[in-house]
């Protein structure tokens, strides 16, 4: 951060969000106006003064953490592009939402990377998918699509290759029902176009500099390549996208001097499916199972963030019943179980990365399997849980976790659900965490591999919008469950895990501590479940509608997921009765944004450490690439 300590005399007496926005409006009258669209919040800042005012927001008002920066295309509703920023204080509290608008043609909004480095990838994403240019951005290249991609797919007038209709449900499904495959109507190969300036022949060029330079990396390939002979020991190394250590199709291009990394550039998008475009074609309800596929290790948490965002919107309308207490308790239980699954998985695979191949992870997976079996019995699926609904859940716990034998599947199990949970929470999971610690925490090899490696300083962690264990491992006690509590977390007793060192070992320690805190929460949930047994999970006793209409407005629902802050930014452009499909559906994916500081975290370490550093960030590509 270029402006670390706040000089006391500059600190303003604007403690609440309202005071902060009032201050901005009075101090910068003309440049800052309140966003008074129905159901919207925050301020709109004149883009000419955006950088200057953003500095004030960060330094004078203390909103030092830029959580999310994303764009919305208001085609037909003002015909402008809008960047929406959510800034928070790491001391806790709500968001200061500010926006900047620009025309749809030749859209330019100044880059905020100089204020918050965490805006880097998010602005690149906005350029890639929305076509907004950010003057001042150090490396404004496409990030999820390749550079031969035609157009900016999240713009409202852009249509995908297998386009059918603007919004679901499609008319051809019922009552006419003319079954067809998408590729029969849009023949593959004929349904794509290339930007006129792209030279398709160049794509056949496999020379080194063509391969790397087409990617628009920050790595200066020419400088290194041009040196002839062997005078230099600096060279470019490509890791991935099919590399066993990258946890999926993820690629890193590094320059190394001998074995020491001098720069690193993450390359992603190999698993990109434009989740957000799909989400905007979908109805609100359709999106829940799609969120399962983001961070597929903890789908319960993904569901939770999304239903919270939609419930925020619903609460602006009439006739909204918040979920019942039992429903909230069940949600928290499921999410905490997912967190345990996530951290066991993260630690296990991180160990794989640093060389403890598969023995530890398989010990931890035993508990994971049991938790997933429980999810399967309750929600119907082990990983793609699709469990939460707006204002409720798919179903209450079954009385028994039971299977019925049939001809093909004959290994039957039958447990009492509450007894199973009690034994898991009181005995098995704590025992596994003890084992995990016995196996690892004092293991000398692990200590030597991880202490002092991959260091991310406290200031950098905040500045780069790191989230989750990555942020807390760098000494920032920021956990959304405490900083901006949701659901029934305020009444639960738990501590925010935090470690000061900022290295791989600190992140490991944070995860272990969070495992224990999750068990502590679960122990408090059990009596709450028993006390509410028999209570409905729906406020009015019956399941919600299959096509809810959501009132006009915007919402940002965020939860502390296993990998960090998972946020959903939603815009509903409904008229009076509300809308069945979201106008804008954006996912603030922790795995994606946590990669922003990967470059600075790796500089100066060895190639073998890079693998471990990536593992200690804990990413999942379903969420990174979306």
């Amino acid at each position: 951060m270029d402006n670390p300590a706040l000089a006391p005399e500059r600190q303003l007496d604007a403690t609440t969000i309202d005071e902060a926005t009032a201050y901005l409006q009075s101090e910068y009258a003309g440049a800052v106006t309140a966003d008074d669209r129905e159901g919207y919040q925050g301020v709109i800042i004149d883009r000419a003064r955006l950088v200057e005012i953003a500095r004030v927001i960060r330094d004078d008002l203390g909103f030092d953490y830029l959580s999310s920066a994303t764009a919305v295309d208001y085609l037909g509703a003002g015909d402008h592009m809008e960047m929406v920023y959510h800034a928070y204080r790491t001391s806790g509290g709500g968001a200061l939402v500010f926006k900047a608008q620009a025309d749809r043609e030749n859209t330019e909004i100044p880059s905020l990377v100089s204020v918050w480095s965490g805006a880097d990838f998010q602005e690149r994403e906005a350029w890639d998918l929305m076509g907004i240019r950010f003057p001042g951005h150090p490396n404004l290249k496409r990030i999820l699509m390749w550079e031969g991609f035609h157009g900016h797919p999240l713009r409202k007038d852009w249509r995908e290759a297998y386009y059918e209709e603007e919004q679901k449900p499609f008319d051809s499904r019922w009552p006419g029902g003319h079954v067809h495959r998408a590729e029969e109507k849009n023949v593959f190969g004929k349904n794509v176009s290339y930007p006129p300036e792209i030279d398709l022949n160049r794509l056949m060029d496999t020379s080194e500099s063509a391969v790397y330079q087409s990617l628009g990396l920050g790595v200066d390939v020419e400088r290194i390549m041009d040196k002839d002979g062997f005078e230099t020991n600096e060279l470019v190394v490509n890791m991935g996208p099919h590399h066993p250590s990258t946890h999926g199709v993820f690629r890193m291009v590094l320059t190394v001097d001998g074995e020491t990394v001098t720069s690193l550039e993450p390359v992603m998008g190999y698993l990109h499916r434009n989740h957000e475009k799909i989400g905007e074609r979908n109805t609100y309800l359709h999106n829940i199972p799609f969120t399962d596929r983001l961070d597929y290790i903890s789908s319960m948490g993904n569901n939770h963030g999304y239903v919270l965002a939609v419930e925020q919107l619903m609460s602006m309308g009439r006739r909204y019943n918040p979920p019942t207490y039992r429903c909230e308790a069940l949600r928290v239980m499921m999410v905490e179980l997912s967190r345990i699954v996530n951290h066991l998985w993260a630690i296990g695979f991180w160990l794989n990365d640093i060389g403890a191949f598969f023995t530890p992870v398989l010990y931890f997976v035993q508990e994971r399997e049991r938790i997933l079996d429980f999810f399967e019995a309750v929600a119907g699926s082990r990983m793609m849980c699709n469990y939460m609904r707006f204002g409720g859940l798919f179903a209450d716990l079954p009385e028994r976790i039971k299977s019925v034998s049939n001809l093909t599947n004959d290994r039957v199990r039958d447990y009492n659900t509450m007894q199973f949970l009690t034994e898991m929470i009181n005995e098995r999971i704590p025992r596994t965490i003890d084992d995990l610690e016995r196996l690892l925490t004092q293991n000398e090899i692990l200590l030597e591999r991880s202490i002092g490696v991959g260091v991310l300083s406290r200031d950098d962690a905040i500045n780069y919008s790191a989230a989750g264990p990555l942020l807390r491992g760098s000494g920032v006690a920021y956990d959304i469950r405490r900083a901006e509590p949701y659901s029934i977390y305020p009444e639960l007793d738990f501590d925010v895990a935090v470690e000061e060192e900022g290295d791989m070992y600190a992140r490991y320690r944070v995860r272990v501590a969070e495992l224990r805190e999750s068990v502590r929460i679960l122990k408090q949930i059990l009596p709450r479940l028993e006390a509410t047994a028999g209570e409905s999970i729906w406020a009015d006793g019956k399941p919600g509608a299959y096509a809810p209409r959501i009132p006009h407005g915007e919402a940002y629902g965020r939860v502390e997921n296993g990998k960090g802050e998972l946020g959903y930014y939603l815009v509903s452009a409904g008229g009076r009765g509300g809308s069945a499909n979201p106008w804008r559906y954006h996912v603030r994916a922790p795995s994606f944004i946590n990669l922003t500081p990967m470059g600075i975290m790796s500089r100066g370490y060895k190639v073998a450490d890079i693998v471990g550093i990536l593992g200690s960030i804990d990413i999942v590509l379903g969420e990174t690439d979306r």
């Binding site: 499904r173 299977s403 019925v404 599947n409 199973f420 096509a547």
Partner: protein
Amino acid sequence: MYGTGLAKGLLLTLRHFVESYADDIRYGFRKYHHSTDNFAIRQGTKTKGVITVQYPDEKVAVPERFRFLPFLIVEDEDHPTRAGKDWCTSCGICAKVCPPQCIWIVRGSDPNTGRPVPDPEAFFIDIDICMNCGYCAEYCPFDAIKMDHDYELASYNRTTHHIHDKKRLSKPNSYWRGIAPTRAYEEMLARGTWEHKDAAKEARRGTASSRSQPPRPASAQPAVAEAAAASEASAPAEATAPAPSVEGATPWSEDDAKREERRRKALERKARRAAKRGTAF
């Protein structure tokens, strides 16, 4: 002392090793003889060893709420008045809630008047696109579409096999009550009858009191007993003629027929083995 951390970890590994084999000895190596009796205990919360399931020799029976591809419910063949009739009324709700939009329904119409009738003329699900979310089953107001438990559907050709038509999708009501007795029972309580909503309504109106059975008593849990009966009746080992298989799906292409045939034979072999051992299958 340097190395104690390592040694502790190695002891833990040793403990896991010993516990796993201790478990095998405790149960007399029965898991290697296709015995199912201690499966629930060994996969439960009390077990200590590292126990895996030897798929495909051992197959875990999936819980009732498990969801894998939808199927349509039709009346059983022995239903007195509605044998073979679809429960689906082609209301279209499942096609609307389906997130990837993989359901196509042709609503039936009266040949004389052309007015829509509550009966699907055709029903397709593209199983390549289906994301197994379970919404169709959750929101169907007539309990006519349900999620299946049969997950072994690999085939060689995507273009000829993977759009399931109505024939392929339809399975008898007794099949559903067999795979998910508790849920079928709960649904019955919600409907107030074991019969289809509309059929029961008709019966109540008294239009034809003899055409439909009165709702069965909800006191005992008949579903469980019936389910057992249903699965027994269709167990291939006891079936003399190729009785309607429990899947209820008629093979609809040559490959499928072969696949079904292979599977049926495997099951028969398994049943014979089980009978020889005298254990419950």
